[in-house]
Amino acid sequence: MVQSFSLLLPVLFPILCGLLLAVLPFLKKDNIRKPFVLFALLASLALTVWKAFGPEESLFLCSLAPGADISFVADGIARVFTVLIAFMWLMSGVFSFEYMKHEQNHTRYYAFFLMGEGAMLGVAMAQNYVTMYLFFEWMTLMTLPLVLHSQTEQAVKAGMKYMLYSFAGAFAGLLGIPVLVKYGTTLTFTPGGVLNANAVAGHEGLLLGVAFAVILGFGAKAGLFPLHAWLPTAHPEAPAPASAVLSGVITKAGVIAIIRVIYYLFGTSFLSGTWVQTALLSIALLTVFMGSSMAFREKLLKKRLAYSTVSQVSYILFGLFLMNATAMQGALLHVICHSVVKDGLFLCAGAIIYKTHHTRVDELTGVGKEMPVVLWCYTLCSLALVGIPPMCGFMSKWYLAIGSLESGISVINWLGPVVLLISALLTAAYLLPITIKGFFPGNNFDYSSLEKKEPGACMLIPLILLAILSGFTIFSGPFITLFQGIITPLLGGVGL
């Protein structure tokens, strides 16, 4: 593979921009800061796209200690995720330009926003376990100030909860390093896994236990039961554009880590068919169901969306745990779908809060009359998340259900689609009433109090873009081919 220092750019550039923003005083003026942040976000997107369409490169940077190398790669998974991350960050960043007028400490917010992007891109582009772990930890730290931005006592507590849950997960993940050093051949991500069969013989039980702990640990970031509780606490406290990246993108750091652990370190041939697989599938299904039903009961809009994330990210994890090509295809499609949709939904919630100061679902009656464009975007994203064809959720859930049926794991193979279906119904039940009440407030509604409250272009452009993208099934053909190319080597050549 080609060694190229330019691979460092997508990671370092946003971090550098964030640092400059924090340090240089002349960037702190509002009319200079905004163009600077926009430039940084656009340039990051350009850099990731450049690397995504370039040749497959890798970079060995340095060694922290013997056995702790820092190296980067632009392989299939890295390409998909980096472009996704940079794009979502751009959308939320543009949205912030208007939303943050409500909040204080702008420089701090944008500085950590940019550094968080760099760290997140580092997670996606890491070539080995240590590098991934490094960026995983730093990403938590960089995004912490976003969570407690408003600095109410509640927000600070939520931030601490976020940090400690993430650290708990990461430390469980750290367990993998010594075990893989002992029983594996390398810590570098290798399609199909790195376990050394001779060393493993006789220690399968230990390795399975460790794999289970590591996956549950990284699952903390992805909102997997039992370490999911930070999500519904932290998301409502953060400013809306920050919750959008937290929910839409940062949860995917957990997904990336789990993909790397299952498919590139332990390997599916070792894990599939074991108790670990069954247990993880059951936990994922439990999380899917629990998240949806909690969202259904929740009255606070952003908290409802946070519970929805708990549920939806576990769809992805369910697909990954099935360890077959169809389900993996569904999982990767759902990564994109959920990122787009959840980013969109949180931004809609942000626009509504920004303009009306309503945070509870039952206060939103008639909101569609005041902000029709926002509510239309909300509706499109909701439909996509429920999975109404031809919106994107349909495609991914279809693959997930088929993958589940194909898997041949007793009980799970039929229980999976059933739970997915029930959860889809619940999703419709917790998302769509807002649309209905918003557009059709009923006869008793006081129409005279309505006023036009549509937000400005900085909010509307990202919203509309995301709403359009939520229908991406229509052009999902290239994605399916792309994912197939990624998946095939992972599963030892078993195609769709």
């Binding site: 200690a65 930890e137 006592e153 940090m163 400690l164 750290l174 010594p178």
Partner: protein, 487 residues
């Protein structure tokens, strides 16, 4: 004749210490003299490294086969390098900290003398010499613990004496039992060879020695003196009770394990698993206590209890990898913990705040202090790019390579303790900069970052920390060649 150089770092601080007390110096001149003396002694250690005397220097022949003697090997160098780095910085820090304290000449005298005694511990050629300096260290540091001379510090000093001397007497019994079986000799890497089998009498002797030296290494249930000794002025807590004294305990344990009794005798016996389990338990115990503690310096003291057992855990693996991992934490923990204590001390000295909740929002007023605290807190938690991660990874790798249920219990303990470390260090660092709005904090004019004498150690230690965290490779290689490459 370069062997006589070995005496230099032991004697020099004793002389300069007495001079601090005896000479009629003004406060300024005395401060300068104390810092210069510490720096001079570090220079002497550097000279010793350069000249590298290979032989041993007999000091005093007690009986036919018991001689007090000095010699420098790889392990001595590790310890010497650590204290040579930290002592001048801590003395400089003490100058500002003790500005308005009483009995300053006495303080700087014993502070200096302790340097020499610690060098003596590091340079001991055999167990008896080590024991001698170990006892001396207790005596030299008692006046520092009791410095305030109020009820609390007198009680703490009494506790310190009882624990330390009591512990040392256990080691003494262990040593006697050893000499009953085999003639006492100098430290040899590998210790006794395996042809004694697993002699239960010797194993008992080892356990007694371990328990005795374990007192200074704050092993549960012999740890209690350490949090109490936190009443001492912070330069003492930071340097002696986070580095010199407690690391002497650990050092003595390592010496008796690897250089006297030897892995061949101990491996796979109760004398390996009991200390390993005790260390694993202490790791968790110290962290839990630190988490529950609201008094800042006591919290850090409990954190030391936990972290010392990281080192002991690595040591009890009885593999080379385990020893190297233990030594990497030996060095890194010293640097990280002294920095943490310095921060707590600065806040205590400048603002009088000693409880954790009182520091909320204080980072705005003392940005340097709390930035340093945040960085060293992250380091101790084990965030990559900082040294704590490297030593923790070394320990985990060594434990996994050793395998078995005892070692895996230790692995789980290490990871749980890492989480607890995050929980007792990081929220307060974050809250110092980003306080909750509802909290009413009254600042005073005194809430200011410290002057140069405290700021210089901060900056130097942070630079060392980042450097160690980013390129620990050469450090680990050097460590390996020091320990494995013979003398």
């Amino acid at each position: 004749m370069s062997e006589y150089l070995l005496l230099l770092p032991v004697i020099l601080p004793l002389l300069t210490g007495i001079a601090v007390y005896g000479l009629p110096l003004s406060r300024k001149a005395r401060n300068f003299f104390a810092v210069a003396a510490a720096a001079l002694n570090s220079a002497a250690i550097l000279l010793l490294f350069l000249r590298h005397p290979a032989g041993s220097l007999p000091l005093l022949r007690l009986t036919a086969n018991v001689t007090l003697a000095l010699r420098m090997d790889g392990l001595s160098k590790v310890f010497l390098a650590l204290i040579a780095l930290l002592w001048p910085l801590a003395t400089l820090y003490a100058v500002e900290y003790m500005q308005s304290a009483h009995h300053q000449p006495r303080f700087f005298t014993f502070y200096g003398i302790s340097y020499g005694v610690t060098c003596g511990v590091a340079l001991s050629e055999n167990l008896m010499t080590l024991y001698f300096f170990y006892e001396l260290l207790t005596l030299a540091t008692v006046p520092l613990v009791a410095h305030e001379q109020d009820r609390r510090s007198m009680r703490a000093a009494r506790k310190y004496i009882i624990y330390s001397i009591g512990g040392a007497s256990l080691s003494f019994v262990g040593m006697m039992m050893l000499s009953y079986r085999v003639p006492l000799q100098g430290f040899v890497f590998g210790g006794l060879d395996g042809d004694m089998g697993h002699d239960p009498f010797l194993l008992a002797a080892y356990l007694l020695t371990f328990a005795g030296f374990g007192v200074k290494a704050a092993v549960f249930p012999l740890h209690d003196w350490l949090p109490s000794a936190g009443v001492a002025p912070t330069p003492v807590t930071a340097l002696l009770h986070a580095v010199a004294v407690v690391k002497s305990g650990v050092f003595a344990c390592i010496r008796s394990t690897y250089y006297v009794f030897g892995p061949a005798l101990l491996a796979g016996t109760v004398a390996q698993y009991v200390p390993m389990t005790v260390a694993s338990f202490t790791i968790i115990f110290g962290s839990v206590m630190a988490y529950k503690e609201q008094h800042w310096k006591r919290r850090l003291a409990y954190s030391t209890v936990s972290n010392l057992s990281y080192i002991l855990f690595g040591m009890t693996l009885l593999t080379t990898q385990g020893l190297l991992a233990a030594l990497s934490h030996f060095v890194f923990h010293g640097i990280m913990k002294i920095t943490l204590f310095f921060c707590a001390g600065t806040v205590l000295c400048k603002t009088g705040r000693e409880y954790v909740p009182d520091t909320e929002g204080l980072g705005r007023r003392m940005p340097l202090t709390f930035a340093v605290y945040l960085l060293s807190g992250l380091a101790l938690t084990g965030i990559p790019l900082l040294p704590g991660f490297v030593s923790k990874m070394n320990l985990l790798n060594a434990a996994a390579a050793f395998g078995g249920k005892y070692a895996f219990t230790g692995v789980i303990a290490l990871l749980l303790s890492a989480l607890l470390t995050a929980a007792y260090l990081l929220p307060m660092s974050v809250r110092a900069f980003l306080p909750g709005k509802g909290i009413a904090v009254c600042y005073t004019e005194k809430d200011r970052d410290p002057g140069l004498c405290m700021a210089i150690p901060f900056v130097v230690l942070c630079m060392v920390m980042v450097f160690c965290g980013v390129c620990a490779g050469p450090f680990m290689n050097r460590l390996q060649s020091l320990i494995m490459g013979g003398v």
